[in-house]
């Protein structure tokens, strides 16, 4: 593989890896905090991507989708939690998986109902449609912007987790939600906030990804699969795990796709199986 191609693929991998991080960090926090397995997480990514499509159709650019996407996804997350999911916290994991899977199915079919089953194109914002020079290499401006935005959000999220009271509660709750409620904090409001936040982040991922791959109804399912791999490999409940896992998966997938495309996916799920078998806590999770 030529140097230019390798650099290109690695940068692509970092970009897609940051999107995977945004997609997965919500899922991992929710599972760590609430021991809740959310098979509808991909649906949040999906609706935000379609929101980006709608925004680009209405305004000519998807920029506003960077706000609309997360909002739509967070709204969906909140509605689902309040109406349905809160009743399942006490149920066994299998029931949670099945119910959230049903929600994902309903959302997917609704999207096809409203739009249609065909993939749609979402144009890159005009001012980012050019290229950037990095030394001797050229690279699409939009992809660089994705990395920048995602990194900024990651930093912001880290600050929230480490420096705010809410963040401290989230981190404490990931270790023991009983402890949090014993401290007099309304656990359900924390759950709801975590759900909304996780949804918003997945929504941002969807909006950012839309111009890169277009939107189509099955992207939610595909995203869910990748999110699970990242969560497992990175470690359940771990922010740094989601970041590390996301980047790892993104880069591996990107580089492998030029060498052996089918092998790329095989390796990724193989890595997930390997981690589950040898070190279920993942790279950064507590053993």
């Amino acid at each position: 593989m030529s140097g230019q191609l390798l650099v290109f693929q690695v940068l692509n991998g970092i970009g897609i890896g940051m999107i995977y991080f945004l997609l997965s960090v919500g899922l991992t926090m929710i599972f760590g905090l609430m021991r809740f397995v959310n098979f509808a997480h991909g649906a949040l990514y999906l609706v935000a991507a379609y929101a980006a499509y709608v925004v680009s159709q209405l305004t000519g650019t998807m920029l506003w989708a960077l706000i609309a996407g997360p909002l739509v996804a967070a709204a969906l997350a909140v509605v689902a939690e309040r109406l349905l999911l809160r009743h399942t916290y006490a149920m066994p994991h299998e029931a949670q998986i099945l119910i959230t899977f049903a929600v994902a199915l309903i959302v997917q079919e609704s999207v096809i109902l409203i739009f249609d089953p065909l993939a749609k194109n979402v144009p890159v914002p005009a001012f980012l449609s050019g290229i950037v020079f990095i030394g001797p290499f050229v690279y699409p401006a939009y992809r660089l912007a994705v990395v920048a935005v995602a990194a900024a959000v990651a930093l912001l999220l880290w600050l929230v987790l480490e420096r705010t009271r809410f963040g401290a509660i989230l981190r404490a709750g990931s270790e023991s939600s009983e402890m949090v409620s014993l401290l007099g904090i309304d656990v359900h409001r924390v759950f709801l906030a975590a759900f909304a936040l996780g949804g918003a982040l997945a929504g941002l991922a969807g909006a950012l990804a839309a111009p890169l791959r277009g939107v189509e109804p099955f992207m939610g399912l595909e995203a869910l699969g990748i999110a699970f791999v990242v969560v497992v490999v990175g470690g359940i409940g771990s922010f740094s795990g989601a970041l590390l896992g996301g980047l790892l998966i993104g880069v591996v997938q990107s580089v492998m796709s030029s060498l052996w495309p089918e092998g790329a996916r095989l390796m990724i799920y193989g890595a997930m199986a390997l981690v589950l078998l040898t070190r279920p806590a993942g790279l950064m999770g507590r053993a």
């Binding site: 397995v37 349905l84 009743h87 399942t88 994991h93 299998e94 029931a95 998986i97 099945l98 119910i99 899977f101 049903a102 929600v103 199915l105 309903i106 997917q108 079919e109 609704s110 096809i112 109902l113 399912l221 699969g225 699970f228 791999v229 497992v232 052996w260 089918e262 092998g263 996916r265 095989l266 799920y269 193989g270 997930m272 199986a273 589950l276 078998l277 279920p280």
Partner: protein, 323 residues
């Protein structure tokens, strides 16, 4: 009524019911093809319901074993010109052995990690199929699978009716096997594992070994269904090994109710008929399935089968108080 949960007797009236259903389906339904499709998925859903209802294992991997059965049968029939029964047998055994090996790995984890492992295996299977596209046909699948004679030397399968006949026999045998197991010592152990795994272990049962055996058995049944699918369809589409197939089988078992073997047949029947009937009226019928799934998990744990059983119990009690 909940044979997986309580053991039931072998045979019981549901055995007769299934036999009657299998005999009359091709006459009741508009086409033999539809009846065949229903029976194929009934067998496949049975593998899923068996694991979930009897052992308490939710497996996202049954589609993988269905697919392995389908591809092995397709390759043997199309590329190596085997006869039908040997091809079906080898396909089922291949699925069973794969399930046994993967089961050895999967049962090292429990709960959500087990489910995720089966999901990872299912995905790996699909991408492995794509990677091996010179044998599996990749995105195109395997076309032109011939209708081979049951055993070499006999004449070829006479047509869709003969295929249905084979399907019905295989389905009934699979059903009887699962029912027999449910009402046996082995079945009682599986049930105890679902009830309280720690206690079963403390009593002296090697829980992992039993889980692997159950997983292998479910793989056998799914592989059998997959092989039948190839024969009935005459080709192997790549979707037989996609994750969506595993999800479809889970939906069928939940809707029917994972409580009893016959329930899997009901669930598969419901799904296949809905697909056939509704898909022309409203292409987004899967949304209804989504609502049903959520509703059943929340409200009616035993699915349609359980609902019917509860209803008949109510009617019987009503008659008693009045009489």
């Amino acid at each position: 009524m909940s044979a997986f949960r309580e053991g039931g007797r072998f045979p019981d009236w549901s055995s007769a019911g299934v036999a009657v259903a299998l005999l009359t389906l091709p006459f009741v339904l508009p086409t033999v093809t539809l009846a065949s499709e229903l029976v194929v998925f009934a067998i496949a859903a049975l593998s899923c319901a068996f694991l979930l209802g009897m052992v308490g294992l939710l497996s996202f991997g049954q589609g993988l074993f269905f697919g392995i059965g389908a591809y092995v049968a397709g390759i043997l029939l199309e590329q190596h010109h085997w006869a039908t029964l040997p091809a079906v047998l080898l396909a089922a055994v291949a699925a069973c052995l794969t399930a046994g090996l993967l089961g050895l790995l999967a049962v090292r984890q429990r709960g959500v990690y087990f489910v995720m492992l089966t999901l990872a295996f299912a995905q790996m299977g699909y991408f492995a199929m794509l990677a091996l596209k010179q044998h599996t046909g990749g995105e195109n699948g395997i076309t032109g699978v011939p209708r081979a004679p049951l055993l070499s030397g006999l004449g070829p399968l006479a047509g869709p009716e003969a295929v249905y006949g084979l399907l019905a026999v295989v389905a009934f045998l699979a059903f009887l096997l699962v029912q027999r197991i449910s009402a046996s010592p082995f079945g009682s152990v599986l049930r105890s594992i679902r009830e309280n795994e720690g206690r079963a272990e403390a009593l002296g049962y090697d829980v992992r070994a039993y889980k692997v055996a159950a997983f292998a058995l479910a793989g056998l049944v799914a592989g059998l269904a997959g092989a039948m699918h190839t024969i009935f369809l005459g080709f192997v589409p790549p979707n037989v090994i996609e994750l969506e197939m595993s999800e479809r089988l889970i939906i069928m078992s939940i809707i029917g109710g994972a409580g009893a073997p016959a329930a899997a047949f009901l669930g598969a029947g419901f799904y296949v008929l809905m697909a056939d009937w509704l898909s022309t009226l409203w292409p987004r019928w899967l949304m209804l399935i989504g609502f049903m799934l959520a509703g059943i998990v929340l409200l009616m744990r035993d699915g349609l089968w359980g609902g019917a059983a509860a209803l008949s119990r109510r009617l019987r009690m009503g008659r008693q108080t009045r009489g």
